[in-house]
Subunit: 351 residues, 2 copies
DNA sequence: GCTAGTTTTTACATCGATGTACATCGGCTG
DNA sequence: CAGCCGATGTACATCGATGTAAAAACTAGC
């Protein structure tokens, strides 16, 4: 049998459609008796509201999109878990979208998937440029995760530069001097990797260690194979580091593997530290020291901020046009991070 | 300025709303000149179709939901990547939903999130019972991943029992006799873990090895900490296995860590094999032997099957009522798997 | 019993896009 | 040049739910 509509429920209960709607939406002025009759009709027919109709009328879907480069980079998966939890508490549904670190996909996401059917977007950009963020007429409210790409957008991040400086400082404190930055790159840009590279250089400079551009091992993406390859290549080419600052844990885990294959001991010969504090680093051999961002806080702040923007754009009851408003000044929110020291820098004795 | 509607574009271009709609939808009989004029108006106004209106009219959203227990279990993240890719090729958008292995959430997903706004669902169930799958009036078409829970539902899986038998056989072939199944459980049920446990027992029995129920190390969930704890506890309690069949790679990676901490050599003292072939197992120390399901095939078959069901339920052009149809017989699709042998069973020399 | 005030319920328009059915146009045939 | 045809374009109804405004039902007070 076809799915029942509100009309069917109304007929079945002998009331008007609007009354059924009122019951569904807990409108105050409905007599108990009517309410009961309608409820029964709903149960009997197995009626459930049609989101399309409601969405059209209300102008809101209650869905927000989380756009990440790759879901199978554990950091993003763990972050997604937190965002979902946080959104759920505010009765928002999260649509996760994988951009594949592809500019076209990220742009499509920014535009609301070519159709404004999400109320807002939390975007973790990799390939976007600052220009892409301008001129977003009609796009839904957006919060960026990671480094600020451009004035005028809300964003949530840790202090990447400071964190990298601390992590590098930790390595230096262990007496290491020949430190490579795996994933490091030219630090003039705006992204997260650039900020971390800046922190790396700042720490070297503070310690009076000369900086050699060859200390940056570039990678194509931030995954285990890339970390393993970059380190293997460096060793083959004669590099003799005594420490590695890996710009994320995946690179670090790949690096651990490469060091192992080359018979290099960690941390005795080479100390290794990463970023993100993913679960894999707590069970690797050796366990991985890392910069742990407060992921729950990132998620909480991002969802909160986005919800504020949504309400601002459409009014608390919806029925706005969903366009970006420029009234509130953009927010830069920094959340906490901390160093988590494990075997890959501190050795086994610490356990 | 408010978001433009089709009406605004029509006025701007000096044509009717329907003509604009025809252009948007690539209807054949529109003159080139009209098409161009409309396109220009669309660009100038920055018009994008409103999904709510289209959805209401067409009865389809082009969105399917993928429901997994936990996104930060890499297997599901990797699977999600494949499903997304596959769906994209069929111009479907994937909404990922995390059920937290929670029955209430899985039920909500089955019901289409309390509102039929997804066209179909791919569900990887953990906590559902067969009963939950009955009586799904009005719910969208659904494809299950993993073992068959109940006649009458479409599902896609590998031959879990057979795969477990092969994996166990491999361990036995290495001369191992004292094999523990990490994550193993009472094998009378219908889930994936149960099927793998059956395969484990079958292999033991074929090899004439006596089965001791203590060989099953139960876990609360299938993550690294659980694997590490289960194995650590077994060792503390005096177990002296020479091989571990771990029901997924996360458990195996946790087990590797626990063995390492107890000074047990892998694979010399204990051989370890897992399931899923996640990326972490290719970089662990030692690398992890595993049963590799053809994830791309799982995704492909699942999306394909789901799309067929959707068309069947609503007609190729949409505008159906989205209710479950019982006309086509339910499909049981088995996809390929293979053993991937790495250091954790074969040792270093193989590389 | 009637009026004023309040609560409950209803009819109707509306959100935006698109299918249906029909009107119009230009060109071609005989 | 009438008549016909296919190609284009349009008016209108429709999808389902809900806001608005007003009618209906009820209550209380005199």
């Amino acid at each position: 049998m076809a799915r029942p509509r509100i009309k069917d429920v109304a007929r079945h209960a002998g009331v008007s459609e609007k009354t059924v709607s009122n019951v569904i939406n807990d409108y105050a002025h409905v007599s108990d008796r009517t309410r009961r009759v309608v409820r029964e009709a709903i149960d009997q027919l197995g009626y459930r509201v049609n989101l399309a109709g409601r969405h059209l009328r209300r102008g809101r879907t209650g869905i927000i999109a989380l756009v990440v480069p790759e879901l199978d980079i554990p950091y993003f998966a763990e972050l997604a878990r937190h965002v979902i939890r946080e959104a759920e508490q505010r009765s928002l549904t999260v649509l996760i979208h994988q951009s594949g670190a592809d500019r076209a996909h990220e742009l499509a996401a920014l535009a609301g998937f070519g159709s404004a059917f999400v109320d807002g977007i939390i975007l973790s950009p990799l390939a976007l440029t600052a220009d892409d963020l301008r001129d977003r007429v009609g796009a839904p409210p957006t919060v960026l995760l990671g480094e600020l790409l451009e004035e005028g957008a809300d964003h949530v991040a840790i202090d990447n530069e400071g964190a990298a400086r601390e992590a590098t400082g930790h390595l230096i404190g262990l007496g290491r001097r020949a430190i490579l930055a795996v994933g490091g790159r030219d630090d003039s840009g705006l992204g997260t990797a650039e900020a971390r590279t800046r922190g790396f250089r700042a720490a070297l400079s503070e310690a009076g260690i000369a900086y050699d551009p060859a200390a940056l091992l570039p990678v194509d993406s931030f995954r285990m194979p890339d970390g393993a390859e970059a380190v293997a290549r460096a060793l083959r080419e004669g590099a003799r580091p005594d420490a590695l600052l890996c710009l994320n844990d995946q690179l670090a885990l790949g690096a651990l593997r490469a060091l192992h294959e080359h018979g290099v001991r960690v941390p005795e010969d080479v100390a290794v530290i990463g970023f993100d504090d993913v679960e894999g680093g707590r069970f690797s051999v050796p366990t991985l020291s890392t910069v742990a961002p407060d992921k729950a806080a990132v998620a909480k702040v991002a969802v909160q901020l986005l919800q504020d923007r949504i309400e601002e754009a459409t009014g608390p009851e919806g029925r706005g046009d969903g366009a970006v408003s420029v009234s509130l000044s953009p927010q830069d929110r920094i959340v906490a991070h901390r160093l988590v020291l494990r075997e890959s820098t501190e050795g086994r004795e610490r356990r």
